[in-house]
Amino acid sequence: MSKLTDDYGTFVSKLQRIAAERCQPLSGTFELTGRCNHACSMCYISRPVSDSAAIVRELSADIWIEIARQAKDEGMLFLLLTGGEIFVLPDFFEIYRPLTGMGFLISLYTNATLVTDSIADKLAETPPHRIEVSLYGANTRTYETVTRVPGSFKRCMKGIEALVKRDINVGLKATITRQNVDELDAMQKMARHWGLPFTASWLLTRRADGMPSEIEECRLTPSEAIAIEASDPYAVEEWCGGGVVSKTDNFYCQAGRASFVIDFTGAMNVCSDFPAPGAKVPDIGFRKAWEELRRFVEGAPKLSAECLDCDVIKYCAICPAWSYLENGKMAGSVDYLCSIAHERKKRYESQK
């Protein structure tokens, strides 16, 4: 019998590999709502809290719990609850609490601005395995330039404090944009102050629903992005060790093999960035939706000849989702990723 702590990440990767070989839906994401109390210009999903068209399409607690039961029967172990912002849902705990007794390793994504003492108390009664709090800046001005909501920085700090005070397992994850890139170090310092793990992501995707996006004004330049990435030894090792893209598969992640996403309407998709195939779980059941997703992934195009022949492919993160979001087709190069891959090659090959 062994308790996994130090080598947890390695063990999870092993489980994912096993699950992918068995086509077991090990990791699920439930996007409980598309609505959020922030209005970040780089967000790929957010809708206003009062969006009545979205509200009427959201699933009830009973339906989410039934989906989870069916997913468990098929082998789901890891469950991420995300939005939008999960705490805009008045019935969040009607969904969450039953899930905590079903044997999943649950993670929550939140901006923490709606986490009051009362909500933190309820979470502490049946805590998730991890809460990842999104961070958009290290001071009021920067944070609220990104979120476009006055008062949101102070509420976020209070929310994090409330969670930390109750010993809930919290991590901070910064979304890096042109507006807050200068505060990356300061955000890391905030995490150290609380003794919390910190991650930063800068690879911003377009909205999956086709609504207008201000992504171009938010994305880092390739040289800015790779300068940040190069400070992460794990990322450098991954890219210098042969990269992530498979020449024989289409999706190099575990989408449709060991993972899935169900959006707030109950549609099962490849990932949060790619709203396909849209198999309606409440109508056809989890198993049939999972089979539809697997067929979709198996039938998706592999790397285009253009990408296969490219001399920076080992430094690229191209996949059908990126091709679709940027170009409307599931194969072919993406200018932003090409620029990043060239920057990686320049940086990492000169380090050898």
Binding site: M1, Y8, F11, G101, G103, F104, T126
Partner: protein, 87 residues
């Protein structure tokens, strides 16, 4: 002895995983892995069992001597107790 109800046994491939549920997550955040024998004992501990009950079941299932089974069961039960997995 009987196992705590605040853990559920899940399997992925051949891996047996004990996952804490509810408030137990605060004390045991992560997964505990069990080998085949340990998972078998965990299943039996759904009902109140003695060391001898467990050892007899192990000896029968895995074709080991009663003496070896008692030793294995004691060792595993100690670990369960140390990790707070027993009532």
């Amino acid at each position: 002895m009987i196992r705590k109800e605040s853990f559920l046994l899940q399997t992925v491939g051949g891996e047996n995983l004990l996952v804490p549920v509810g408030a137990q997550v605060m004390d045991t955040n992560g997964i505990i892995t069990l080998n085949e024998t340990a998972a078998f004992i965990w299943d039996l501990l759904e009902k109140d069992c003695t060391i001898d009950d467990l050892a007899a079941a192990i000896a029968d299932r895995f074709e080991v001597t009663m003496e070896q089974a008692v030793s294995d069961v004691r060792s595993f039960v100690d670990k369960l107790d140390q990790n707070g997995l027993l009532e």
